[in-house]
Amino acid sequence: MGSVIFDILTTAGILFVVASGLMIILGVMKLLNFAHGAFLTAGGYAAYLTGAAGISPWFSVPLAGIVGIVFGLLVERTIIRPLYNRPLDAILATWGLGIVISQIFALTFGRGVQFAPSPLSGTIEVLGIEYSAYRLAVSAIAVLLAIALIALLSLTRFGLNARAVIVNENLARGLGIDSTRVRAITFGLGAGLACAAGALITPLLSVDPNMGLPWLVNSFMLVLISGVSFPSLLLASLVLGGTQVLISTFISPILGGMTIVVLAAMILRLNPKGFSRA
């Protein structure tokens, strides 16, 4: 029973880490980034390459983050910016980008599965329960990340500008906020977060060219249900991720795989605002 509670907490942490890059882009840019899955995959390969190069696995996450930010800025400039007035087209373009990225990985690394070394191996004993050390570390990182993101939005100048753009972009522009720059930075940040998240979760799983795909839909659901608020995202990850763990453990893993999607769709149908007010 105790390990189920740890499963719930760590699953929620992983979901939060994976979805946060998507949320920041959706919040500020009103853009649902379908390339998010491909960015996660890119992070996974970054972790794999770091491991293959013999660098300490602890560096894989920051390295992936930096690669993601640079790549994100590049993509924003070439693909996203021209489509800012056509939101549904922007979705499609990011989706196309996702295909291109995953095909490039398939051409470079092959279709097969690759593994990345874990910085922490084995289990540790917490409250009398043996549990995977790395999963616990990921959850701790998720909590730190949540605090850092909330602080970024509420304490920094960029956060203030970003919140202004979230609430009313035209007015923000009228006040002299360079919304183009805010958007570019946001996309870079979102892509960086996604890549870092990919690098963070790869040691738990494995990486292949389509690794990000299963995470993509779950992240969409979590983000749609939480509106634009990191505390809500944390709550949504906990509630939906928790239900997923319970259903997988006690009923069937296949049903568990569908839990987040189905549950989130039902919640949104009955209350289109989801958890955003919670």
């Binding site: 499609l92 295909i99 795989g257 769709a265």
Partner: protein, 597 residues
């Protein structure tokens, strides 16, 4: 009207010729194709029919769907499951087909219920369609030996007809469904679909049941896709989870985008071209080919949002001498016996508001508003900015808006009705800013407004609109009756206002909500609108609720004025009483705030 018959048959004749040419091509094509290509093309032609439905959903109606493959998969699995587990023969085949159609329709209706409701965002709907194939694939995986799990079903008994026969079946299916789709998007109903794409909210406020139309369309498209899937399974003798998967669903979308959305034939040819090519090339360089289509897709979305078809049709138009514009002469006629003409001179007030309030969180925008609007009355609502005037309009026209209170339209409680249901009860609402349907013509816009009452024909197009007398009056007064075939984006501001009003009146309301109908108009235009409004209340027994800042205009036409201030009714009376009131002066001048509060 001889013209009408010519134009009607022109669309149908083009469709007929196109259909026959298509069928002939399908009939003789196997003579020129080798076995390999015939084999590939059978799958491709069936998928092209599915792509055609994606174009109707996405290109014409604006529903970005990632999940059309799910219905293809449902059809395929219906065939595979019935032939594998239950039996084989003509009866079983027909039963299986019925099962395919039925389950596709049920799943589509469920998806539509989840995805489309008043206030759902297009992105949410897209995510639902994305989730559908993913969930379905999971269901197939969990089916064990019944569904064959990840390896699918194969080797079940089927009709081993020759390749030519299957080619003809697939080809005829494509040609016939595409002809039907072609007629559909050119019909009056097709205009409704475009209106939903262009401005969903406005369509709802004209009484068009947007969510129901989208769901019905989804069901119809799902059924077409399921037949294609059934045929594919029967032909290939293999069904696998990939047929329902979301990879295929997005490929359908890519072909639609590359071919040119909202061109119907573009996506069909793109599907045929690209799918044939990828079957041909993917053997040699599988990943590289996918990479190329991915890059082409991104490039087309960014640089050529309308796809490749407009390039080709542009070239075609340049090579071909321009024919005379065949834009048919649209005409308007008077609608027979309308509810509006019977009027509501009777005793029950058309509009009754009891204890209405609206809160956004802790902010109270309206509180305890009580109001009665009688027939034959023009009620002016004035008040400073932020007094809650527009919110009041919104609460009257959408049952989900208010926080508390009851609202009666013609003695019917509106409860939590959606805007289109409220229109059905007799409320017409015009908007502060003219948001019309840019690419539609004046007569098409008017026809939209009549959809609730007259419906729209699915496969043909009529060029006359029957309108109630007041609408006709406005068209005449603003000169719009001479511009019925003009696209609305080319109209002047005054004409747009006039059209907006004519459209709202065409829905035959008994309560008319007007939000600053004369903003930005010249003095003569104001006078014209003013006299139409007075005539409406006097002769047609309408109850008009009017938000207006121009007190002179209000004074000229209105019987009674309500002053809203900080969300509550401050005062009610004739224009003279209100203008003379010190309280109102204080509110407008902005001082002595505490006294008025």
């Amino acid at each position: 009207m001889p013209r009408k018959e010519i134009t009607l048959s022109r669309t149908h004749r083009t469709a007929l010729i196109g259909c026959l040419v298509g069928l002939c091509t399908v009939a003789i094509a196997p003579l020129f194709l080798d076995t390999y290509f015939t084999n590939i093309l059978i799958r491709t032609l069936l998928l092209a029919a599915v792509v055609m439905t994606v174009d109707i959903l996405w290109g014409y109606t604006g529903i970005l769907t990632f999940g059309q493959s799910a219905f293809f998969g449902i059809g395929a699995y219906a065939c595979g499951l019935v032939f594998t587990h239950y039996g084989f023969g003509p009866g079983w085949a027909l039963g299986g087909l019925a099962l395919a159609l039925g389950s596709a329709a049920v799943v589509a209706a469920g998806t539509g219920w989840l995805a489309f409701f008043h206030g759902s965002s297009p992105i949410y709907a897209s995510i639902i369609t994305l989730a559908l194939p993913i969930v379905l694939t999971q269901v197939i995986y969990s089916g064990g030996s019944y569904t064959g799990s990840s390896s699918g079903l194969s080797g079940f008994p089927t009709y081993f007809w020759s390749l030519e026969v299957w080619f003809w079946i697939a080809g005829c299916f494509l040609v016939l469904t595409t002809t039907a789709g072609w007629l559909l998007v050119r019909s009056d109903f097709g205009r409704v679909l475009i209106a939903i794409r262009e401005n969903e909210d406005r369509s709802a406020y004209l009484g068009i049941p947007v969510s129901r139309i989208k769901t019905m369309l989804m069901v119809a498209a799902a059924m077409v896709a399921s037949v294609a899937g059934f045929a594919y399974a029967a032909f290939s003798n293999v069904v696998a989870p990939e047929l329902a998967g979301f990879q295929l669903g997005t490929e359908l979308l890519i072909w639609t985008a590359l071919g040119g959305r909202a061109t119907l034939l573009g996506p069909v040819f793109a599907a045929i071209g690209i799918d044939t090519m990828s079957s041909w090339l993917s053997g040699a360089m599988p990943f590289f080919w996918k990479l190329l289509t991915g890059i082409a897709f991104v490039g087309v979305i960014v640089a050529l949002p309308r796809g490749l078809a407009p390039l080709i049709s542009g070239l075609w138009n340049r090579l071909r001498p321009q024919r005379n514009a065949i834009d048919f002469e649209a005409s308007v006629v008077k609608a027979p016996g309308t509810r509006m003409l019977q009027g509501s001179f009777g005793d029950a007030p058309p509009l009754r508001i009891v204890g209405l309030s609206r809160r956004y969180g802790s902010l109270e925008v309206l509180r305890d508003v009580n109001l009665i609007g009688k027939g034959t009355e023009l009620l002016g609502i004035i008040g400073p900015n932020g007094a809650g005037k527009t919110t009041l309009m919104r609460c009257i026209s959408d049952g989900k808006e208010r926080t508390t209170g009851t609202l009666y339209i013609n003695n019917v409680e509106i409860a939590h009705s959606s805007p289109q249901q409220v229109v059905g009860l007799g409320v017409g609402r015009s908007f502060q800013n003219t948001n019309l349907f840019e690419t539609l013509t004046v007569s098409e816009c008017l026809k939209l407004a009549r959809y609730r009452i007259d419906g729209a024909s699915l496969f043909s197009r009529s060029d006359t609109v029957a309108l109630p007398q007041p609408s006709l009056d406005i068209l005449q007064a603003t000169g719009l009756d001479k511009k019925l075939s003009e696209e609305t984006k080319n109209l002047s501001h005054g004409m747009k206002r006039g059209l907006e009003l004519a459209m709202v009146l065409a829905t035959e309301p008994s309560v008319l909500l007007l939000d600053e109908p004369t903003a930005g108009l010249t003095r003569p235009e104001r006078m014209a609108i003013g006299s139409v409004l007075t005539k409406l209340t006097r002769d047609f027994g309408l109850c008009i609720v009017l938000i207006e800042h121009d007190l002179d205009f209000v004074r000229a036409i209105s019987d009674r004025v309500v002053v809203l201030h900080q969300g509550a009714i401050l005062m009610e009376g004739t224009v003279e009483e209100v203008v003379a009131s010190d309280l109102v002066k204080a509110v407008y001048a902005g001082h002595k705030e505490d006294e008025s509060a």
